[in-house]
């Protein structure tokens, strides 16, 4: 069953990625740029889903991880003159440390208390960025345009913000997230995480140290979010507090629920749909958050499993 799941899932994901790769040659400029953005945000959601969908831990503070990757990469490039690659590595390690330490505290709580602790840490992080505005440039944020230099590929120089670079970097990020989460979810470790989601006390009584598995899931999920944030900083050359706000924590929750929590490909679908829906609504009204709220409520009432979750339940049993 697992081998079949793995084979089918990799085929399906490979197909989706190939399609996305080919689409870049046909998409009009506007949608080309939307797709780049969707792929980065979907990677963030895939990391979020690892915690929510596969371990059963709901966080409302993931913007903290996204922003900590973004800010640590950005600030290190801005102040220390790190190269983009060094910035990415620093951002990854920094977020890994932040999520590990955060997990050691937050995982002492469960369920709703955990949710509230994540929310509070997330807000504290956000306010700290505003408070230390001499260093972080607070609400205005800062630009990396003059610090990134160019990327040389096969003897040609490209800007990081070049549309083709953006699209393909986002695609590589997405592809690696899909692959690594699929492999973990279908491994013995993934089986334990799902067991924790399904019945935590029983998992403990099967002889597993539940805390350390949850800590792994949280650290891994947080680090994925941080790498997405660092990548976002490079490709968009801008670092700002909007990415640390509460609403940036709620977004991946919504994308995941809509696409299907506990399905690998669901968050990508959810992110894409919400992105275009908001894009469309913004043309009609400035109050697009109202629509976000309505979609969330309707999803929970009629599609508690999300789109891919429902598809799995009805047709594709093997879907990881």
């Amino acid at each position: 069953m697992r081998r079949k799941s793995l084979k089918y899932a990799l085929f399906m994901q490979g197909g989706v990625l190939l399609l996305l790769f080919l689409l870049q040659f046909f998409l009009p400029a506007y949608h080309h740029s939307s797709f780049s953005k969707i792929m980065i945000l979907a990677s963030y959601a895939i990391g979020y889903n690892f915690l929510l969908g596969y371990t059963g831990l709901m966080s409302l503070g993931h913007a903290m991880f996204f922003a900590s990757g973004m800010y640590s990469a950005g600030l290190s490039i801005f102040y220390f003159g790190f190269t983009p690659l060094e910035g990415m590595i620093f951002g990854t390690l920094f977020t890994l440390t932040v999520s590990l330490i955060f997990g050691l505290f937050a995982l002492r709580t469960k369920a709703v208390s955990f949710l509230i602790v994540t929310l509070m840490f997330g807000q504290t992080f956000y306010l700290a960025i505003l408070y230390y505005n001499e260093f972080t440039y607070g609400q205005d944020g800062f630009s990396l345009t003059d610090y990134l230099g160019t990327l040389s590929i096969l003897g040609k120089e490209y800007l990081y913000s070049d549309p083709a670079i953006r699209y393909n970097f986002a695609l590589i990020l997405l592809a690696s997230y899909l692959l690594i989460t699929t492999l973990i979810v279908l491994s013995p470790v993934g089986r334990i995480l799902i067991a924790i989601r399904e019945n935590e006390p029983r998992t403990q009584l099967l002889g597993y140290n539940v805390f350390s598995y949850k800590l792994f899931a949280l650290t891994f999920s947080g680090t994925l979010a941080g790498i997405s944030g660092a990548m976002h900083a490079l490709l968009y050359s801008y670092i700002g507090t909007t990415f640390a706000e509460i609403h940036h924590s709620i977004s991946p929750l919504l994308w995941t629920l809509l696409g299907g929590a506990g399905t690998i490909i669901g968050p990508l679908l959810g992110t894409g749909i919400m992105f275009y829906l908001i894009d469309f609504i913004s043309g009609i009204t400035s109050n697009y958050l109202l629509v976000v709220g309505v979609v969330l409520v309707l999803t929970i009432i009629w599609f508690p499993l999300g789109i891919m979750g429902t598809i799995r339940q009805k047709w594709l049993k093997w879907l990881p």
Partner: protein, 247 residues
């Protein structure tokens, strides 16, 4: 018979508020025999086994397993050392398949055997899962969702999970509760087979099952041990008759 002591408790107590559920209990479990704990509702049987497998911490006293004090170990650590508990009310992963349920247990025991950092291959897990499921008679149900099994089969699945955990001491908490008579006979046979390779501690209400299986019986009442002995000694014990029949 010079039996070797596998597990013993010393002055073990557990209070819930003002209620003493387990009161200063010295309980011994000897190797290579089926032992049973009986007693009326609220006698403290389940609390005693909960203390033994670490689901609740003791208020005082100690638990010695294979010569080591395990009172401070987490429940997970105790499972790893071979004390495996089967739930009174089934606690399976009802949304997962039978295969996954047993695999979770098998994977842990294989990992403990192979050493901490080795990944266990799915082929080895699979072998163990199929073996455990067929031992309890659930072969062919591998890919059925556990929650959709009839209750009797869920109980058997619990037993399969426990077997896959490679137990040294298997604690069966009211295994026949809620089962039909034919299923009970089936289970008695199963427990007898299991007991050839595993030490079994049985918590049971059903006297027929106890006297059929157990080689040594401990009677609990009001949180303490009332008497102990072979099944025939217990059957003829006047106090036990009073306790159960009220005469």
């Amino acid at each position: 018979m010079a039996s070797v002591e596998l597990l013993s408790t010393h002055g073990l107590s557990r209070q819930y508020g003002g209620l003493t559920a387990v009161d200063n209990v010295d309980f011994n479990f000897c190797q290579d025999r089926i032992q049973a704990i009986i007693g009326p509702n609220g006698a403290g049987k389940t609390t005693l086994v909960n203390l033994i497998c670490g689901r609740v911490p003791p208020s005082s006293g100690s638990i010695i397993y294979k010569g080591k004090d395990i009172s401070k170990l987490s429940s997970a650590k105790r499972v790893q050392s071979g004390i495996v508990y089967t739930f009174q009310v089934t606690s399976i992963f009802s949304n997962l398949s039978c295969y996954e349920n047993v695999a979770l247990s098998a994977q842990r025991s294989l990992k403990t055997q192979q050493g901490k950092w080795l990944m266990v291959s799915e082929t080895v897990i699979e072998e163990q899962v199929f073996e455990s499921l067929s031992r309890v008679g659930l072969q062919g149900k591998e890919y059925q969702t556990a929650g959709t099994l009839p209750y009797g089969h869920q109980k058997l699945l619990e037993v399969a999970m426990s077997l896959a955990a490679d137990p040294e001491l298997l604690i069966l908490d009211e295994p026949t509760q809620g089962l039909a008579q034919s299923e009970i006979y089936n289970l008695i046979g199963l427990v007898r087979t299991i007991s050839k390779s595993v030490n079994v501690l049985l918590i049971e209400h059903n006297m027929e099952v106890v006297f059929n299986l157990a080689e040594y019986v401990t009677v609990m009442d009001n949180g303490s041990i009332m008497t102990e002995g072979t099944p025939s000694e217990i059957e003829n014990n006047h106090d036990v008759q009073v306790l159960y029949l009220g005469t």
